[in-house]
Every structure is written in C-alpha cells, then in structure tokens.
Symmetry: C2
Subunit: 361 residues, 2 copies
C-alpha cells in the first residue's frame, strides 16, 4: 500500500465509522487520545516519549463538543481533497481554507488559526496519520550538503554538487528516495553559520559524511530526514550544539521526541542519535574557559528543568554534564572554537571527537 | 582586478595612510562617514537611499576614541587574514575571534558582539568594502528554484532540477556565476510556505521564471542575488507580499534600500523592483473582504510612518494604497487566496497580474 492509499484508507474508515453511527441512530463521536503532559510517558525500553492510553470522547450532539467536532471533520474533508489532487497547504493556508461561513448561518468554521491547528493535531491522533500524510506542510528551513544522492519529484540531486548553498530541505521529506549513499555518518548542527563554516572547509568531503543544519530546533522535515537516514541506512547521527540548556534540549528533542509531538515519536525520534556538541570537559580541553557567557536566570531555570526530565534523570553522563554546567555558570558556544583557529572545528574538534568516540548518548 | 585584489588594495591603502601618519608624527585617525538617519538621504534621481557627506574623525591618541579605533584595526587585521586564506566567518564568530586580551593588559578587545558588529560596519564605510568583501558572512536563509543554471564553487547547479527543496541560498552570493538564463523574470516572496505552494504547482516551469523566498526581510545574500539578476541580466524582479505595512516595507527595502545599510545601496537596492503583492483593489477583485485580519495599534502606527517616508511621499499610487489600507482597517495575507482554490495563486493571480502589468513601482 502506498502512503497515499494508506492515508485514504484511514480517512475512509473514520468516515464510515461516523456514517454507521448516524445510520444506527447513535450520537456520532470521535475518540481523541489526550495530548497533554499527563498522558505522555517516557518508554524506557525504546528510549522515546510516547503518548499514553487516555482518551476522551467528543460527541456531535453535545453543545460544548460540536464546534471542535465540525472543525475536525472540515479538516478531514480538506485533507481528503488535498490527497486526491496531490497538493499541499501550510498551516496558515489551511486556516484560510477553513475560514468560511457555514451555510444558512453566520458562524465561521474557524475564527483563529489556533482552532485549525488544533483540529489538524486532533485528526493526526484520531486517524493515526501524520500532518505530512494529511498534506499539511510544516515549516521549511535548513540545508544539506555531502555524500548522498537523492531522488525527489523526479529530480536526481547530488548533495555534493551544490556549491556554497547546499540543498534547501523541504517541509516534507517523506517521499525522498535515497539513491546512493557514500556518507558514513551525518552531522546535524543548530546554526546555519556553523554549517557554512564546515561547508567552506569541505568537512563532508574530507570526512565522508553529510552536514545538515536548520536554525534552532530542527523542523519536522529535518527530523524525519535524519530519522530515515538512521533507520533505513544505519547512518549514525551526530548532533552538534552549544554547551547550554537550550542546545542540550535541541539534542533531547531529536533523540527522545518532544512532549507536544509524543504521538509522532515513531516517525520523528532518533533513539540512536549521539551528542557531539561541547561538553563540560571540552571547555578545559579546548581552552575555552575565557569564552564563557554568563547564564541569565532563565538559563539556570531551564537547566533545573532539564535535569529532572525522565529521559535524563537516570543517566549518569548527562547528570554529570548538568552539574558541570551549573558550576560553569555560563554557556560556551561552538562558535567560540574560532579562538583556536578559523578551521579548528573542522580540522581538530570534529575529527578528534569522532575518532575517540567522544560523544554522549 | 579581482574582488580579492580590490579588497586587499583598499585594506592596504588604509594601513599605509595610518603608517604615514605615524611616521610623520601625526595623530593617526580614521575618517568615518556618519551612518545615522541625519546623514541618510533619498536620491530622487537614482531612487535609492544614500549615505551623505558628513563624517567624523576618530583619533588614536584620544581617550574616548581609542577603544573603537583599536577594534576597527583588529577587524581589519582579521579581514586581511580571512581574505588571504580565502575563508569566511559569521558575525558571531568574528566576535569570538576578537574576544582576546590585549598583551600586557587585562583589557579585552571586545566584550560584546555589538562592539565587533559596529567595528565591521565602520570598516565597511571607511574602506568602502562590503562585509562580504571582508569575508564576514551575514545570515543564510531562503531557497531558489527555476530556469537558471549557475556555477558556484566549481559546481554547476540547475535550479530547475532540485525537487521539492530547491537550492539553499548562501549568505554570500557575490561569486555566483550565471551560466544559462532561460527565466524571463524573478518572483520574490516573503514566505517559505508560499514558495512551496508555487514550487509544487511548478509555476517557474509554466511561466518561465525563477521563484525565490526567504522568511520575512530578505537576507543580504538574497538582496544581492536579486540585484545582480536585475542589473547583469535585465530580469524584472516581482515582489510578492501581504497587504499590510510590514509586507510593503519588505518591498521598500528591496527596492530603495534601508536606512541602516544606506551606504550599501549600490550593492543591494533594486530601483527597478516591482510590487506584485496584494493591493487594496485586489481585495475586492479577488473577493477577499471576508479574509481581513484586523490591524492592531502597532500596525496602524507603522502605516503612518510608511506614508511619510521620502520615497513614498510623492508617489500617487503608493499614497492611494496607504489610504485604502487605512480604510480597510486590516491586513489581507497572500495565503488568503487559498479560499479561491488551492492553486488559485499559481493559475489565476500571478498569470493575470503579470499579463495585465498590474504592478506598482
């Protein structure tokens, strides 16, 4: 079954369920898994965040349920159309497509984008389809370069022949075909400026790898792309971030999944991802003590939260890092490696770390 | 003379000037054009913002000047090295490279990134070299697709063969070579989601053009790329934005230049750029009245500022738009065109606008 057929089948099943309820005189309802923190668990065996079993019923004949019920149905109808014509819309565009008046009333299906966003997320968990399968695009950001040739929309694209820019990663990476993989691993980093540094030094050519960056948190498109390269082709994913709570959390989301998207961990999380960013020990090793930037209150607060997350709580190595970070009282950015030389990160830091398996999992 | 040679020559001239002053026992100084609003003028003939003739002298032997003087010299020394080894650093990386203690003192060259940023801008205006020529990268963002083949870093890149992602535009587009241009015009838009919509509809293939987007204000790399395509290859640049003060200002910066970068208008501004975004008349024409989103106070305040800018003040067509916007009391986003059909923007809006020359200049 193709992705398209699977999506159509699941939407059809949902429609038929409701139709049967109507025919047999029942009150049609949707069974919606609860997406709040109370229903999100950390699966220790799989090492990913997962959504639990709690759900709530949403009825058509219930004055406090009907608005959301109708919104979810309208999104389902739109998704059905998008899948049929093989076109995609963004979240914002879906909001406009749903911002229409119900016939015979003066009521609009949605008044704010939050309503259509919620309806899409509801449909994701009800029908067990990702937003990408519903043809609703997330944001687009980031670039890739290195030793992989892909096929996308009929084009054969060599990530090693794209000059100083690289391939712009689309919002949806579900349908990319990997045609030729010479890369031995992937380096993901949180900053486009570091990507340009590594690309200029041809790190991917010298080390036989691929470099990928977005800006801050990875987009869904990048997370899925990294996960597919790891699961389908056994490529190690190294995550390069600053030594600060925010950088560590970028790694955390990539590896374990996120609370708000816990229902999608099997499509997005990468339990095998390895942290290759700056550690507390690196600060001394690479003589970066002077390059610390003092934490603000908000950074320290975030650090305390991080320490207590289930997926970090029982990990000795991570607790050690949190302790070192608290003692350091400041962050150290990857960019600070430039004080050791313009190409120090490319010529020393990365080769040394990877050779010595100096990563944290 | 190559770009590299030109940059080296200008830096050398600056160094020699200071050396001569030292040798002849004078107080070495830098002559720095003033970059505040008071010294920025709108050149009516050229239709771009320009920096005026006011400048101030910064002396080495002056206790309130010396810190900035030394910072500028340190940036110049770093730029000289970067140019020689043909490598680039980001603004953040330059900050770290300069964050070092002066020998025999406990004084750091810079304490905050603002200082190194200012020093780079000072050097730009003193030596009449752009940040790109000094090998300091701006931010990287955006994608391109369409009927152009370029050469970059020895790679031949066909913008029409890059699947759903496109070419990721680098921060520096100075050295790109345009090898084959089949495009008849360029469409620039402010949102990546709209770019994905147009790319999925293969607008660039059907209309023989190139589509380029970033997120919000165009990066320097994109502005220079668009300017070069316009000036070197006479390609019209159409700018697609929302009907709101912020969208209009994105167009304004692309066309006339910006106040803070007025000294670079000859490298970045595109006086021939045409506005192809939503107009007041379009709201009625495309039945988008219902899709208005009410202005907040901050939007209305921005609108009042826009109206009074020199480059808009005497333009009847623009003043009419500002009037219509004030009457509309709300913005209308391009994404709202989806209420007319998923591909309405690709199949009707753009072809109709371009055929009827329905743009504003």
């Amino acid at each position: 079954m193709t992705i398209k057929q699977e999506s159509q089948k699941k939407l059809k099943e949902l429609g038929e369920k409701l139709l049967n309820e109507i025919k047999s005189g029942e009150n049609p309802y949707l069974d919606i898994p609860i997406r709040s923190l109370s229903n999100v668990n950390f699966n220790v065996e799989k090492q990913v965040l997962e959504i639990g079993d709690s759900s709530s019923k949403r009825f058509f004949f219930n004055i406090s349920h009907i608005r959301k019920f109708v919104q979810t149905m309208e999104v389902a109808a739109l998704a059905k159309e998008l899948i049929e014509v093989d076109k995609h819309l963004s979240l914002r565009q879906v909001f406009y497509a749903l911002r229409k008046t119900l016939p015979g009333t003066n009521i609009d299906v949605v008044d704010e984008q939050k309503e259509s966003n919620d309806a899409i997320e509801d449909l994701e968990v009800i029908a067990k389809l990702t937003r990408e399968q519903l043809h609703v695009n997330a944001s687009k950001n980031g670039a890739a370069a290195g030793k992989i040739i892909i096929e996308d929309k009929g084009d054969r694209i060599n990530w090693g022949k794209l000059g100083s820019g690289g391939w712009a990663i689309p919002s949806n990476t579900e349908n990319i075909k990997f045609k030729k993989i010479d890369a031995k691993f992937i380096i993901y980093m949180e900053k486009a400026a570091m990507w340009e540094r590594l690309n200029e030094d041809k790190v991917w050519d010298k080390m036989n790898c691929v470099i990928i960056a977005s800006q801050g948190q990875a987009t869904r498109g990048i997370r899925r792309l990294l996960q597919r390269l790891n699961q389908e082709h056994n490529l190690p994913i190294y995550v390069l971030t600053d030594f600060d709570p925010w950088g560590f959390y970028i790694y955390s989301v990539l590896k374990f999944g996120s609370i708000s998207l816990a229902h999608l961990s099997d499509k997005l999380a990468i339990p095998e991802a390895k942290f290759l960013g700056l550690t507390g020990e690196d600060i001394k090793k690479y003589k970066l003590e002077k390059q610390k930037i003092k934490f603000k209150k908000v950074d320290l607060k975030r650090l305390e939260q991080l320490k207590k997350y289930d997926w970090f709580e029982n990990k000795k190595e991570w607790q050690k890092q949190f302790k070192l970070m608290k003692e350091a009282k400041g962050k150290v950015e990857l960019d600070a490696l430039v004080t050791r030389g313009i190409s120090f990160v490319s010529e020393t830091y990365l080769p040394e770390k990877i050779k010595n398996k100096d990563w944290i999992e």
